[in-house]
Symmetry: C2
Subunit: 311 residues, 2 copies
Amino acid sequence: MIGRFSLSLLVGLLPVMFAPELSAQTLAERLGYPPGTRLIIVHADDLGETHAVNAAALKALQAGTINSASLMVPCPWFPEIADYAKSHSDVDFGLHLTLTSERMYYRWGPVASINKVPSLVDENGYFHHDWEHNQHVNPKEVEIELRAQIERALAMGVRPTHLDSHQYRLIMNGKELFDVMLRVAHEYKLPVFVTRDWFADHPYLQASLGPGDIVVDHTVTIEPDVPPEKWAEFYLAALKTLKPGVTEFVIHPGFDDEELRAATRERSTWGSAWRQRDYDFFSSDQFREILSQQNIKLITWRELARASELK
Amino acid sequence: MIGRFSLSLLVGLLPVMFAPELSAQTLAERLGYPPGTRLIIVHADDLGETHAVNAAALKALQAGTINSASLMVPCPWFPEIADYAKSHSDVDFGLHLTLTSERMYYRWGPVASINKVPSLVDENGYFHHDWEHNQHVNPKEVEIELRAQIERALAMGVRPTHLDSHQYRLIMNGKELFDVMLRVAHEYKLPVFVTRDWFADHPYLQASLGPGDIVVDHTVTIEPDVPPEKWAEFYLAALKTLKPGVTEFVIHPGFDDEELRAATRERSTWGSAWRQRDYDFFSSDQFREILSQQNIKLITWRELARASELK
């Protein structure tokens, strides 16, 4: 009996141990979907950064073609989106935890007092443009700043459904920073955007996560190697070959107007035309049609959180 | 002899004591202009606040129809204008010392650490939207913040020609705040925009100023009681009836685009259409023609400062 039990236990563990993509089904199953169901979150990043990003994201949210987004609390246009969030409490807004100010002509700094987070700011008091390899970012200061961002959002009437990390800074820079985000997230009972797609490159992610944490199965985001004329083709291929489970499409809609062109003019990656292309594809009939044709369902962070033990 | 000497001293003082408009000539005369000369500074406020304001002001500066401007260091678009100032060191840029964040959907906070200037910020860490009558603004904190703004500007390559006060907060709110601005200005050897037009309502201004301080004779700024269709008429009348001496036209050019409309949408005063009207008038042939017709000369703060003992 013991032998048989052990064997069945071992067999039961096999998918988890050797085939992480099978355990991907767990989240969808916990949400009540039959095996094989393909679910996507169409998630707009960077709300609050500029008005052109806010305007495009709100239009797409209202049209229903994107269904989730996250907000940059330190940015100057955050009050606009917080005001909207306050009167649209059903919208799936997370916080896009922000520790960099990556543009050249348009910049922002921390929510916390600058003298409490000296490792996060440059000599002029803005968040660093980038993190150099030898940049010492103090995890205690990161924690102070993350709490300040969440507290400002709450004070301004936002009820976030999730947390994620601007430029993946808190995901890709080692266990210590990831653990800070995870600890703060647990305290505020908010899920963090993590996908098992990242586990191979960053094993500490999986090691830090507990059974109550939500792990999205896959993520899709367009990269600079896709030429502008192949934009729709890239997304259509991703949707046609979508794997079962929950996939987050991380997109960057925005209107290609004077403000956004000026704010992003030093480089084209994630720039103004890029964001207009994202807006255009995800507002297109093509996108609606392929969802229907491929029987792909939309899901939000609010729904994911309901299915977990976090909420 | 003593009697005669006293009498001549008294006569000498008479213009200062009883006819401040006569002493107005002093500045123009010190600059080498014959009595009766009419000089104007066409001064754009609020650079750095939004891209639409930067773009309009830079276009008008390059066209030569405005010839001076001041920069809001705490605002997110300050880096764009600082970058321009660095490579255009001849442009007449002052600092528009800023202690309020008067819009609703687009906001900014202090340059200094928030915990050093608690009386200047609201519960979310932005500068107050407005100063209530019973608002206690701590002059020591004002001084910390003014220094922080000047130091950031210097560190980012701006060499300011003058200082002025956003929304006249440091002019109209009592001797204590004005003296802070004046003390900091003296330390950095920068002239402060003060006009004798304000002396009657705010006698402490004149009382605080010393012989080395520059006093502009008059100022003209358009107010909300002028209907949009009377914009040009207002400015033309002001130019036709211009008094001798130095007059600063405080104007607010901006492009009436998506960004500026969104940033100023809660009220029309000093809003997007207002700023477009200012841009339009001061870029018009009408404006150039009346300057020529009326023999009005342009002057900058750099020139004023050269004439004083400050520089």
